[in-house]
């Protein structure tokens, strides 16, 4: 009787496996291609490349916000304050420009408010061990309240720098992009690099995988946690600036519910709500899916714009179930 006989047991690794880490992103990509295909087959004008560019132009601020949200969700947290921070940033910019401050200073102030609030929320979450849901909910009310305190009605922006940034067309052949799209692309690139190639980025994944382990492995859990809420705040601030470029105004009730769109985009982009798995690229795909749905409904012309919400709702359900199925397999493997 040899010991090797004694310890034989079913091999768990030989079963056929998809690249599970990338699977949700591939599903998002397939979904996007199918939708785009439907658009192209139904409407001739859909194949115009400007349609794709417009999706970026119209959703750039959402994409930037969703990128920040990706960091937070990867750690297993959530940030409900983003929509309000976007509105607050736009509002503060509009009010300060109206009061005649130089645009460079306004930009600086506007870009500092969001991360500061994010930093404070991160500290509260970490040091007082309070659920992110509640802390960022408080942040959401706080920032929204601040918007109406600044002004209860919309403030138009007439500043020269802002209007030129809003109206500048960057020509690419027959088509064009806006300054906002370039900023968006830059944010996405920096975020993707940060997550894949920096220690901060890898710590984000580790904390999402198992915070207890991350702590015992000696990773700076608290610092990273505070950092992701600060990053999300910064992204919201950039999103707010982009939104003020887009609308050339600051309005107290703009971007209401945007946090939910951002969360939806992140989830449809294949990031696990429990944290630890997902990519910025997935979030880009998620936002594009939302954008293409909107475009399809606009092209149709007969459908109520609320159909966007109905389709997003359906997709969210589908993706959450997908996550569950993948998560279930992961669990059954680890308890073996």
């Amino acid at each position: 009787m040899s010991t090797s006989q004694l310890v034989e047991r079913p091999d768990r690794t030989t079963r056929w496996r998809l690249p599970r880490r990338q699977l949700p992103v591939l599903v998002s990509l397939a979904l996007l291609l199918v939708m785009y295909g439907i658009g192209v087959s139904q409407y001739q004008a859909f194949s115009n490349i400007q349609v794709v560019f417009n999706v970026f132009i119209d959703n750039g601020f959402l994409l930037v916000v969703a990128v920040g949200m990706t960091f937070v969700i990867l750690t297993g947290g959530i940030d409900l304050s983003v929509g309000s921070v976007v509105a607050m940033t736009a509002m503060v910019s509009a009010a300060l420009l109206r009061d005649g401050l130089p645009p460079a200073l306004v930009l600086l102030i506007a870009l500092l408010i969001g991360p500061t609030l994010g930093f404070v929320m991160g500290c509260v979450i970490h040091f007082f061990e309070i659920q992110p849901f509640i802390v960022t909910l408080a942040g959401m009310f706080f920032a929204r309240g601040l918007c109406t305190w600044i002004s209860s009605s919309s403030i138009p922006i007439t500043d020269g720098f802002w209007t030129s940034a809003a109206q500048e067309r960057i020509r690419i052949g027959e088509n064009f992009l806006t300054v906002g799209v370039l900023i968006t692309v830059a944010v996405v690139a920096v975020a993707a690099y940060t997550l894949a190639y920096t220690r901060l980025g890898r710590n984000v994944y580790a904390i999402g995988g198992n915070p207890q382990s991350a702590l015992l492995m000696g990773l700076p859990v608290g610092r990273t946690r505070i950092a992701v809420y600060t990053i999300s705040g910064l992204c919201s601030a950039i999103g707010g600036i982009l939104l003020s470029f887009y609308t050339l105004s600051g309005a107290p009730l703009i971007a209401v519910g945007m946090e939910l769109d951002a969360i939806a985009a992140v989830v449809i982009g294949g990031t696990l709500l429990t944290g630890g798995a997902g990519y910025v690229l997935g979030t880009v795909l998620g936002v594009l899916v939302l954008g293409v749905i909107q475009t399809l409904i606009t092209f149709d012309g007969t459908l109520n714009s609320w159909w966007t919400k109905i389709v997003i709702g359906g997709l969210l359900f589908a993706f959450i179930v997908l996550q569950r199925l993948l998560g279930f397999r992961k669990k059954s493997l680890s308890t073996r």
Binding site: M1, T3, S4, Q5, L6, V7, R9, P10, R12, T13, R17, R20, R21, Y193, A196, Y197, T198, R199, R202, N203, Y205, A206, G208, G209, N210, Q212, S213, A214, L215, L216, M217, G218, L219, P220, G276, A277, K330, L333, S334, T335, R336
Partner: protein, 514 residues
């Protein structure tokens, strides 16, 4: 060995928790190139001592020196940097990251701030080459077996130029072959001059590998001994601090009379019960007052079979009869209604609610059986809980203590108490003695005998054959998700024979009872 200087000394360490003196003047000396076993019952203070050493807890008095200098770590990270690494019982790594990343996260090779993935994978392969050459370091850790995960944890620990490596119950979830691998790794690291602290409940492993033993009891130091000068029996005596009558008296129970209990209608009868992908169809009867042992290796389907009885998994083949009447058990609630109780193997994750008190945890199942609309009166709760705390000698005997503050063995007793209080007719015990100390083990074994003498049917699952043989009337052997045979526990049956069946030897059908 004592002519060299210890790499690490802990002197007169004391640690108080509210109301508890967890450590009281404990010393520990670690020499380079030595495996040092830290022994003690549950609650003796081993875990606390290790947490003090690695800076998870501060200490109230005493001093720690590392390489001659006084140190006091603020946390595991600082300890690791100073060369004191810990591998915990539950593997503390991130399942969502690759093997390579788990080894290097926090100190990845970088150039201009960017993680150099290729360099990292190459170095990970180099580190693992010493331990387990054929492992793809790009694979997700979560896809690896527990043994491999543990190896990765060790690789992570020793790559930081560890001078002291602490292994906190590393073997409790491993099977025989995996333990051998781990021992090989430990010897290798020891020969490289690392001081290894080995915390375990397995005495055999201590005597196989440890050079020196420190024994703790109730937060106090009993003594430090070279392994060669401390016979096994003396070690156990020092650990539990009482004579071994308890264990020996149980031995006389061996060879229990099967014919006497196998009368009348069985309490439960499984006929061709099975679940595809989980356990092959099997048949098994358990009578009043009968203890059926279930033996087999890790992953042989023991737990899976038990879960079918309890309805934790739905059977998709076969029938189950309770008292001769066929029943369909749709879930644990239905099982409880049929007076079936199940003590799960993972008491931390499946059995207990750590935040709730001992009393609340014990009352839980009884309350569930009564329905939530009929609360158990507080007076009756207190009375019941008091009775079971005494009967099982749960320590500390404080009904209002949150369960997570109890040691492993005492938590196990709380799980047991919870089910016993519902007065089940079939009690399923899945590895009830794993990871708990000798004293508590003997108490639980004695309890099983008492319960079955009182008419309870027991399904007893354990990896320890001696234990199964000591308690059972008959032994059901599982292999590769099949119940391969039932053996009557008569005088002929010994561990060797059961082992042969488990290993898949010749004895297949001729060994069946009657």
């Amino acid at each position: 060995m004592s002519d060299t200087n210890p790499v690490l000394t802990m002197t007169a360490i004391s640690k108080f928790f509210p109301g508890v003196r967890a450590l009281d003047g404990v010393d520990l000396r670690l020499f380079p190139g030595e495996v040092h076993a830290l022994m003690g019952e549950n609650g003796a203070g081993k875990s606390t001592l290790i947490k003090v050493l690695t800076g998870v807890y501060g200490h109230d008095s005493g001093s720690i020196t590392l390489g001659g200098e006084t140190v006091s770590f603020s946390g595991p990270m600082q300890a690791t940097e100073a060369g004191v690494s810990t591998v915990y019982q539950e593997v503390n790594l991130c399942p969502n990251l690759s093997v390579a990343e788990n080894i290097f996260i926090g100190r990845q090779p970088r150039r201009l701030g960017a993680v150099r993935w290729r360099d990292m994978r190459r170095r990970a392969s180099a580190v693992l080459a010493r331990l387990n050459p054929d492992l793809d370091v790009g694979e997700l850790l979560g896809n690896q077996s527990l043994a491999v995960q543990q190896m990765v944890a060790i690789a992570r620990a020793v790559d930081v130029r560890a001078r002291v490596l602490i292994l906190d119950e590393p073997t409790s979830s491993l099977d025989t072959d995996e333990v051998k691998q781990l021992m090989r790794i430990m010897r290798q690291l020891r020969d490289e001059g690392i001081a290894i602290v080995f915390v375990t409940h397995f005495l055999d492993q201590v005597y196989e590998i440890a050079d020196r033993i420190t024994v703790l009891r109730n937060g106090r130091l009993v003594g430090e001994y070279p392994t060669a000068e401390l016979p096994q029996l003396a070690l156990v005596e020092k650990m539990i601090g009482k004579d071994l009558d308890a264990l020996e008296r149980l031995d006389e129970q061996a060879g229990r009379d099967l014919a006497a209990v196998e009368t009348g209608t069985p309490v439960v009868e499984a006929t061709g019960l099975g679940r595809s992908g989980s356990v092959e169809p099997f048949s098994l009867t358990i009578h009043r007052g009968e203890v059926v042992g279930m033996a087999g290796l890790l992953g042989s389907g023991r737990t899976e079979a038990a879960r079918l009885f309890f309805g934790a998994d739905r059977a998709d083949h076969g029938r189950l009869a309770v008292d001769g009447r066929p029943v369909t058990i749709r879930g644990p609630v239905a099982a409880i209604e049929h007076d079936i109780a199940f003590c799960s193997e993972n008491r931390r994750t499946e059995g207990l609610v750590g935040e709730l008190s001992v009393r609340e945890n014990i009352i839980l199942a009884l309350q569930a059986a009564r329905g939530w609309l009929r609360p158990v009166p507080r007076r009756r709760q207190d009375e019941l809980v008091r009775r079971y705390i005494d009967a099982l000698s749960i320590r500390p005997a404080d009904p209002e203590m949150p369960v997570r503050n109890l040691s492993g063995g005492n938590q196990q007793k709380v799980v047991l108490a919870r089910w016993l209080i519902t007065e089940p007719r079939l009690l399923i015990l899945d590895e009830p003695t794993r990871g708990i100390d000798v004293g508590a083990k003997a108490e639980i074994q004695r309890l099983v005998v008492q319960l079955s003498d009182g008419g309870m049917a027991v399904l007893f699952i354990s990896a320890e054959l001696e234990e199964v043989l000591r308690l059972s009337h008959k032994v059901a052997v599982m292999r590769d998700r099949q119940l391969v045979t039932e053996l009557a526990n008569d005088d002929d049956l010994d561990a060797d024979r059961v082992m042969r069946v488990i290993a898949g030897g010749a004895e297949q059908k001729d060994g069946t009872r009657q």
